[in-house]
Each structure stands twice: as C-alpha cells, then as structure tokens.
Amino acid sequence: MSVKQLSDDLNARRISRRRFWQGAAALGLTATGISVLERGALAAPVQFWSVNRQDDREHTLIVAVSENIDTFDPGFTVGSKTAQTAIQNTFDQLTQYEIVDLVAPDGTPYKGVNTLNILPMLAESWTQDGDKLVFTMRDGATFSNGDPIDANTMVEAYKRIYETNAVSTFLLSMGGAVTGADAFSAPDAKTFVIQMSKPNSLVAQNNTMHNTSALNPNQIKEVATEADPWGLEFFKANLGMGNGPYMLESYKPDDALVMVANPNYYGEQPFFTKVILKVVPDASQRVQLLLNGDVDMATQIPKQEYETLAASDEITALSIPSNLVAMLEMNTTLAPFDKKEIRQAVAYAVPYQAIIDQVFNGQATEAKSLVPSGMPTSDFSTNMYTTDPAKAKELLAAGGYDGTPVKLSFNAGIPEWERIAILVQAALKEVGMEVELEKLPYATFNELEQGRKLQMWTDEWISWVNDPYYHLSWLAASTSPTNYPSFANERVDEIIAEFTLSDPSPEKDAASKEAQAIIIEECPYVFLCQPNWLFYMRSDIDNYVYYNDELPRYYHFTRKSS
C-alpha cells in the first residue's frame, strides 16, 4: 500500500477515515503528514457541494497550458513545459537566482533574475570552496508530508540522478565537472558537499534548475521494486512528494493539473492558494480564454497573437529580450549542405527582416552569432550575412549546386516555424533553390532531428545557464547530443574543451569570440533572430518574475485588488 493509493482510497471513499488513519500509521507517516494528506484527499469530494466556488477565485490562479505531462520525474523532464512548471513549483532547489528589477526595451518595468548572483533556497547558505560546493542545510525544511530534509536527503537525491543516468547527469557533469555519484557527500546532517573535478562556475548555475529537484528518499524506498530500485516507473507517472510552496492536488491528462499551497512549506505561503494548469490544446482557444477572462494566464501563445493581446486593456503583454535564438539549421553531412558555400548562400537568401516583422510581429531582435546578445562575450561583428539574393546566387554557383530540390522540415506544433518555412521557401526559390516544405508531427520531427536525418530545418535554442561555454557545449561541440547539424570543427572543440570549466579570464572570452567567428563562417546555423520572451496575463495579475528557463514560479504572483 502506498501513500498515494491510501489517499486515493480515501478520496474515492473506498475506506473509512478510521481505516485511513490505521493505514497511514502503518505506512509510518507522522501526524502532520497524515493530516495534510487527509486534507488534500478530502478536498476534492467535499468541493463539489460548494456551489459557490467563486469564493476562492480570488486566490485561484488559472493558467491555460498547451500540453500534458510527459514525465513527472524531475531527472528526466526535457519536453513538456507543463511538467517542468509543475516540478518547479512543487520543489525547491538548493539555490536560486537573485530577483532584480529590470526594464523592457519598450519601457515596461519587470522583474527578472541576476544569474551571476546565486542565493540560497533549501540551503541556508552556500559557498564555493575551490573545487567544492558546500551547502549548509536549512533548519525546518520538510517535504510536504513533514519528512525533514537534511544533507543526507540531498545525497540520496543526487545519487538517484547519477544512478539512473538521468538527463540531469548531463547537466551536472558537463565538461567532466562532476564525474559520479560519489561526488555527493554529507559530512554531517547540515552540510552537503558537491565535489567537482576542478573549480568552475558552471555547476553552481546548473544546480539551480528543476532537474536537480530532490525526491523524498522515504517515498523512493516505498515505491521501489527490485527491478526498479529508484522507482523510475512510479515517478514517471506520479509527481514525487515535493518540498516547494505548492503540492499536487490532482492531475488528469488533457484536462487539468491542480496544485495547492503546501501548508508545511518552510517559506512564506503564496498569495494563490490554488493553481490550475488547464490543458487547452488549441492555441487560438487559449487566447480566447485569456481575452474572455476565463484564465488568468496562457502559455505557448503563437507570436502572431501579440498584436491582438497587446491591444487589449485587460491583458498585460510583456515583451522581454531573451537569449532564445531562432535558427535555420543545415545538416553539414548531407548534400548539398555539406558544402560551406551552399550553407552561406542560404544565409544570404534568408529574408531576415520579413521574418522579424511578419512572423514575430516585430517582437524580436536580430541574431548574428550562435551566442545570443544577452550572453557574455556575444559577438556579432564578424557576421556579414544580409539578405542579398545576388550574393546567394553567386555562392550557389560557387558551391556547385546542381538544382536538386531540398527539403525544409519543421515541427508542425509551432506555427512560427511554418511561417518562417514559407518565407524561406519563397526566398530560396528566388535564388534558384527549389525547396519542398515538410511539416512533421513533433514526434517524427524530434526523431528525425535527433537521428540527424533532416536536411534543413528550423529550430530554436535557449540556454538555461547564461554562459557562452555552456551554450557552445550544447550546440557546437562535435560530441554534443544536440549538435543536430553535425557541425564538427577541431578548433571549436578544442576551445570548448579547454575553457568550459576554467575560471574567467581574457583568454577565455577571446576564445569564445574566436569560436563564434568560426561558426559564423562555417554556417551550420543561420541565425534568424532572437525572439523576445512574450508573456501574457490578465491585467489584475501582478509580480511576474522572468527566469531564463522561462518557467513561471507561481508563488511570486499576486492579484491586484480591484
């Protein structure tokens, strides 16, 4: 019998409250834990009688989201934004970024984060001591059932990430920074230590993300089976017991995910006691719901909706510069894009301004290097590509393009890609390159992209860590799993290997610029633009904080009283 099953049973009234208490005690839950569970469990069925329901509308935040959960396992979330958001709001990490006041280019003040200043969160304080990250654990931090969190909890949790070969392993061990599960230790219950292979600033930044969320070791033990000692099956389908400001109340795929405030949270209770992530698959319907006030926020809104939403008095539309780069990518191992001249010809043919104006409603800035403008060492100076059909024709001829039509593939789920593809198709046709558009369901697209089977395609990238080497490691290192154009350049590989984990230095910055210049010249990516991060909420919602992982933290939000 598991906690979840127990609460489900109570929920469905299959068992009496007495049996519930007995069962809970048998499971070894503390009294607080039981009461929390009971409250959570009873919440739903009691509710249907409260016809009012409008009562708590004030403190209920409703968000229209586009997709279901793919996995609830913090170690493995890379796809679904809904999953990442749920995890981010139900788990605290050891550290967090400092929140600062910023001003958008259009003059709107907003809150963002300073990625250079990492503050404690679950930890009471932290320091970097050479090749060691030392965290002092907070007193009184517990999981939502009351189980205490100490350094040993963290060791277990990080061990799970490494033992299960989770995606987070990739983040933490970037550049060989953290090599194995034995890098995590707890000299005492209050002290948690991460041992790095050499001093660097990357691990501390990577460590602020939801992928390092710590699962409750007690719960892992409970759900583990012999074949599955880390409970992979369970945590894929079920959100682990969290330690953050919210806890999961219910989740029904294609319907809604509901979170409620965690009464055992060590920090301040959030303004919104309930957050409903409502799945609305059709993008224009999400906008309709937002415009009509049935939801407070809507995510994954196509860029072309900006004008409509920004024009509404009832909507706050934030347009915030972001490090996201929209790119046209070419497979450097497939003809005709195995020739540099052909790739450069494409870069000269692309109608950059039309894309910014027509596709992104002007809510984008030019992008001229792989390292985006908001990231240290970004260098646009060597980029000479402008929309120049004559030059493009010249280069096509120089590259010996034989007129074979090429395929431009894109992910059907994102309307911007379709629009970009149509514009690029027309532009390339003008310079003599026949392009067939291939609109692919995201599953097929992802598979073909990961399998390096696409010829030319559109995609985007944002680095959660604001570090050029982190960024280059993902996109330009020849061994990177996400270097989809299969770009391989010895010098770039060398630079990445040498400087990714090194301390800041003028040479490090210069090397980054050198690598950028090489990538611009070799042109595996055509940088279309840097779209702004657009965020929409009803005007009565306040206190949005922009994080560069783009996941909203609902505990910051408040509702203005009318």
Partner: protein
C-alpha cells in the same frame, strides 16, 4: 419488389441500355432542382480548376510583404493572407489541387475496391468470405484516426493525403460492387457470355463490371465530398499537403493562426469554397442516387 401495375415489371434482362437510362437521368435531372444546383456547382468547380491559371488574378505563390493581411478590397476581392498572397487566387488554385486530391482518392479507392468486390463476388466461397471479413475489419476502424495513422506513417505530402483518404473507402466500394455483382453474376449476362466461350476474366471485366458501374459512379460522387473534407481535416492537424500549397484545408489552417487577429477573410473564403464544393457533390450525388434508382423515379 414493389412493382406498380402502371409500369411493366422490370426484370434484369429487360433493363434499358445504359445510354437510354443516362438520357432518362438527364431528363430527370431537370426535374430535380437540388441536383441541378449540385451539377452547376460541380461543373463550375471543374471549370475553375481547369482554367485556374487564366482566372486567378495573381500568382498564388507570389509573396508580397507590402500587402500583408489586407482585408477584401477591389484589388484583392478576398483580401490577402499573412504572406501577401491573394486569397482569391489561392482559393481558385485550391480548386485544382483539392479536386485533384479528391479525384485521385476516389479513383484509387474505387479501382481497388471494385476489383476486390468483383473478384470476391465472382470467386465466391472462401475467397469471398475472407475478403469480406477483412473489409468488415477495415470498416470497423475509426476512420479519421486511421487516416491520421496512415498519414503519420508515410509522412506528409499529396500522395499521402490521397492514400490516407482512400483506404477506408475501399470496403464501401468492395461491398457495393459485390452486392451489385452477386445478382448480376446469376443473370443472363454472365450465362450468355460464358456459353459463347468467354474466359472467366473476360466475363468478369467485359460484361459484369460495366453493368455494375452506375451505382458505383453515384457513390463516387458522394465520396468526392468526403475526400475533400478529410483532406482538409488532415491539413488542419498538419498531416496534409505542403503548408505553402494552395489547398483549401492548408489555407484554413494558416488562416486560423490569425483567427484572434480578426483576419476572417483568410480562413472564411477557403472554408466557404470547401462548403460549396462538398455541398455541390453531395447534392449531385444525392440527386443522381434518386434518379438512377428505378424505384425512386
């Protein structure tokens, strides 16, 4: 069989030749206004499709950033889309592509289906049994999902749409063909032909098939409408033809991206085009069905 005394009892052998029935049908058409409306629409569509290059005021593939998302005007009767393409021209060229897709899908399913049905009816026995059970299975499949599955499996493109929309029509044709064939097989046609020494294949295709074609032809008219709708549906969820193609479903899909911006003309006109076309084929098919069915004259 309800035979009113006013008409001589129709027997299979006594049915007038096709040309006579066709003439009767044409006469009947005049007495059936809804079918006439259908016929007029269909003929108009076919003409538009054939003469698209002449009729269309603009090149439908010409992007023009100067006139993006313009509402209907004297220069652009149906307005322009997000890429400055002329919606009227797109809709006109769309008739060509959509009719082509529908025609291909109908022909494909008709050919495959009728051959299966004819062979099955003619062969009888186990072959018939197995074929018809297979058709049962196919018919029990959720239609659109199956089309989606096929489209997903073979990837996007015109050929995909044709195949995806045609596969599940096959059982309908096979069944129809078989039901028409079974009585026909026993009739004089087959007996006469085999008695003068025709081979089986010969008998099957030279004599029996032509006599079964009328109901199949009528059914196809109705299938046309379905094929257009299904192709549009596939385009809507992104499993259809190339995004930039002048296909009604693809145009609606692009138009819907600007739904909230109030650019109604981008999705309304292709939508109306589909509605009118499907209505035309349905009314015509409906009318033909009435007219060619001797009982409902």
């Amino acid at each position: 069989m309800s035979a009113t005394a006013a008409q001589p009892e129709a027997t299979y052998a006594l049915r007038p030749p096709f040309s006579e029935r066709w003439r009767q049908g044409m006469r009947a058409l005049r007495a059936n206004p809804t079918a006439v409306v259908g016929l007029v629409i269909v003929v108009a569509l076919v003409l538009i499709a054939i003469f698209a290059p002449v009729i269309a005021p603009y090149d439908p593939q010409k992007l023009d950033m100067e006139v993006v998302s313009q509402p209907p005007s004297s220069a652009h009767w149906f307005g322009t889309d997000q890429f400055g393409r002329d919606v009227l021209s797109l809709v006109i060229w769309g008739a060509r592509l959509d009719l082509f897709i529908a025609l291909s899908a109908v022909i494909l399913s008709m050919v495959v289906g009728t051959v299966i049905g004819a062979v099955s009816a003619y062969a009888g026995g186990m072959t018939d049994e197995i074929t018809m059970r297979t058709m049962d299975i196919l018919q029990a499949f959720p239609r659109f999902i199956f089309a989606m599955g096929i489209a997903f499996a073979i990837g996007p493109g015109i050929g995909t749409v044709v195949i995806a929309t045609s596969v599940l029509n096959i059982p309908g044709y096979a069944r129809l063909m078989r039901s028409v064939m079974l009585p026909a097989r026993k009739s004089q046609y087959a007996a006469a032909a085999t008695s003068v020494g025709g081979s089986h294949t010969n008998v099957l295709f030279r004599h029996l098939v032509p006599n079964c074609l009328v109901p199949i032809f009528v059914n196809s008219t109705l299938q046309f409408g379905w094929a257009i709708l299904e192709a549009a549906g596939l385009s809507f969820i992104g499993l259809g033809v190339e995004s930039s193609a002048a296909e009604w479903g693809a145009l609606i899909q692009l138009g819907f991206q600007d739904f909230n911006a109030g650019h109604w003309w981008i999705y309304t006109f292709p939508g109306l085009a589909i509605a009118v076309a499907v209505l035309g084929f349905n009314l015509l098919g409906d009318g033909l069905q009435d007219m060619l069915d001797p009982r409902r004259q």
